[in-house]
Symmetry: C2
Subunit: 338 residues, 2 copies
């Protein structure tokens, strides 16, 4: 059974385990500090497909990450009871087109860049409740597909502000079940939508940081734990601006995350060398960092009890053009050593 231990916070008696995970990224990501840890790199933005969108989905990135995660779990697609997936493309077509060939019962998720944590949360509930023996959790983003959908055609070469983040070209996939040894999911907190009236679509970090702070504080309160109980808190993807705001917001509530806080958007790129301004972003950012570095460190034992807090900005180009603010959300997953 699953225990409700607070508003939106749940704990798993029967902890779902990570049975396999994989990350696929683009060339720029492969040149960053985590480059050696990814399962596959696509060196060309189209990767032989006709469009950026096809490269993100069916023919390539998301499909490849899911395939690799299932192989590591020693499962065929027919063994997987359900897949939770989502992405940034309108109507989540990166996922529907990316995963349809597998024929796995499909539940599309939309949490913007918080999607990886959301899919893990749903997958964990399915596995822990007995509704699924194996659940696949997948997400992706693609710089070129996102850039032209949200901002300008690639050919314009748009100027970026200092607070802007760079959408990661990457996909992460995780199979949850009962038999993995790398890491298990002990608890989770479902995010609430926080709207701090940020209207600058080039400053997503500021829009998402309050949601991350609220979710982390709620989790500590509901579980009666504190920052000192965890080896690390990984947010994704606040970037430098959002990370600074998160630390401030938490400090005001008496929580000093100190060097226990890391942000996936800052881990994946070398900001000094890679011209990504405030850091990385996109569903694929926290997903690819989780499915390479973080779960890798858990499997090796250098991390034993962590919080993975993926953050999302729930705007669209329509709401931005209509002058609406950018609501943020953050879902939290507590992984413990397997």
């Amino acid at each position: 059974m699953i225990k409700r231990i607070g508003l939106g916070t749940i704990a798993f008696d029967n902890m779902p385990a990570v049975e396999g995970c994989a990350a696929v990224v683009g060339k720029k990501e492969s040149e960053g500090p985590l480059g050696a840890l990814f399962d596959k790199v696509i060196y060309d933005s189209r990767d032989g497909a006709e469009t950026f969108e096809a490269a993100e989905s069916r023919s390539r990135m998301q499909h490849a990450a899911a395939q690799s995660a299932m192989e590591k779990a020693m499962l065929r697609a027919a063994d997987v009871d359900c897949v939770f997936a989502g992405d940034l493309l309108n109507q989540c077509v990166g996922s529907s087109f990316g995963l349809m060939d597998f024929g796995i019962p499909y539940l599309g998720q939309y949490g913007a860049c918080s999607t990886m944590a959301q899919t893990l949360l749903m997958g964990a509930v399915m596995v822990s409740s007995g509704a699924a023996a194996h659940a696949l959790c997948v997400t992706s983003s693609h710089f070129c597909a996102a850039e032209r959908q949200y901002r300008f055609p690639m050919e314009y070469g748009s100027v970026r502000t200092p607070t802007a983040q760079w959408t990661v070209t990457g996909a992460g996939a995780c199979v949850l079940g009962s038999s993995g040894k790398a890491a298990k999911i002990r608890a989770a907190t479902i995010g609430r939508i926080n709207d701090y009236n940020i209207t600058d679509a080039n400053n997503m970090g500021a829009a998402m940081a309050p949601a991350a702070a609220e979710t982390i504080l709620r989790f500590f309160s509901d579980t009666k734990t504190a920052i000192g109980d965890y080896d690390a808190v990984f947010t994704g993807d606040l970037g430098q601006v959002g990370s600074d705001i998160l630390r401030d917001l938490l400090l005001r509530q008496g929580v000093d995350v100190g060097d226990r806080h890391r942000d996936c958007g800052l881990m994946i790129f070398d900001r000094a060398a890679q011209d990504v301004h405030a850091g990385g972003s996109g569903c694929g950012c926290s997903a690819s960092v989780l499915c390479s570095k973080i779960l890798g460190d858990m499997a090796q034992g250098s991390l034993r009890n962590i919080l993975f807090v993926a953050t999302g900005a729930l705007l669209s180009t329509t709401t931005a053009q209509q002058g609406k603010s950018i609501p943020g959300i953050a879902h939290l997953i507590n992984f413990v050593a397997g």
Copy 2:
């Protein structure tokens, strides 16, 4: 606990109950055959808000349906553990903006027009597993917002083909918990993505019918039941073209649905009088019909055991313009008398 009884088919020992439901629709829908059954009607497409999108979401329709469903369940927003919601607008902003004021832990869903069944499926898993005491399930669509996003600016007054469907302006909301008497959820089947290479975005019924057939047949096979065991099968929203195809596809597999089949897209409008071509569509179509007519009939006892099969077309304007086919999906919920 929840039992896996087939690939993607689950049965609830501890059946989640409908504690309250509500439907809000637009003027045209209020003039249709179900007009008297809706909880609230918005007579103007903007309903006093600045934009169609705002009318769909925060200020009005989706918010009002959720509020009314919670009131009928005698719950405040703070009593609800989580909300599953989605819509057709890019990045599901109808839901994120529509529900954020409630402060309920939020999990965005994307299943196109299958979203109502998907949210019910997820809500039922949360309640039955103990992860939530009360889960809110909401979706909406808005004719004007969808028309200008997917097709043309409203001002163009576009010509429609005979197979085209009319996007319903409507929202439906359902609170699931343990204490309702109207109806309970006994089982569910998660849809798989079916791609029959339909590329005509004005013929969604044809694109979705194969998915509905596959889900219904899989449910019958997994549960070892047959069409004769159910009072009715409600699909939403295949329209006339898709309904005819569904009947044919099922008949070829030896299943004669006969007059047990009804389609929400055909129930909500009077096709002869309301100029809606092949029928209604949109997330709000099956949602508003379920939360008025169908669950109303279950509460009154004229229906006791039904299948609700919401269907979705997983395309975007980008995939359509790139010449891609339209993949379909259908999720199934088995409601029984409470």
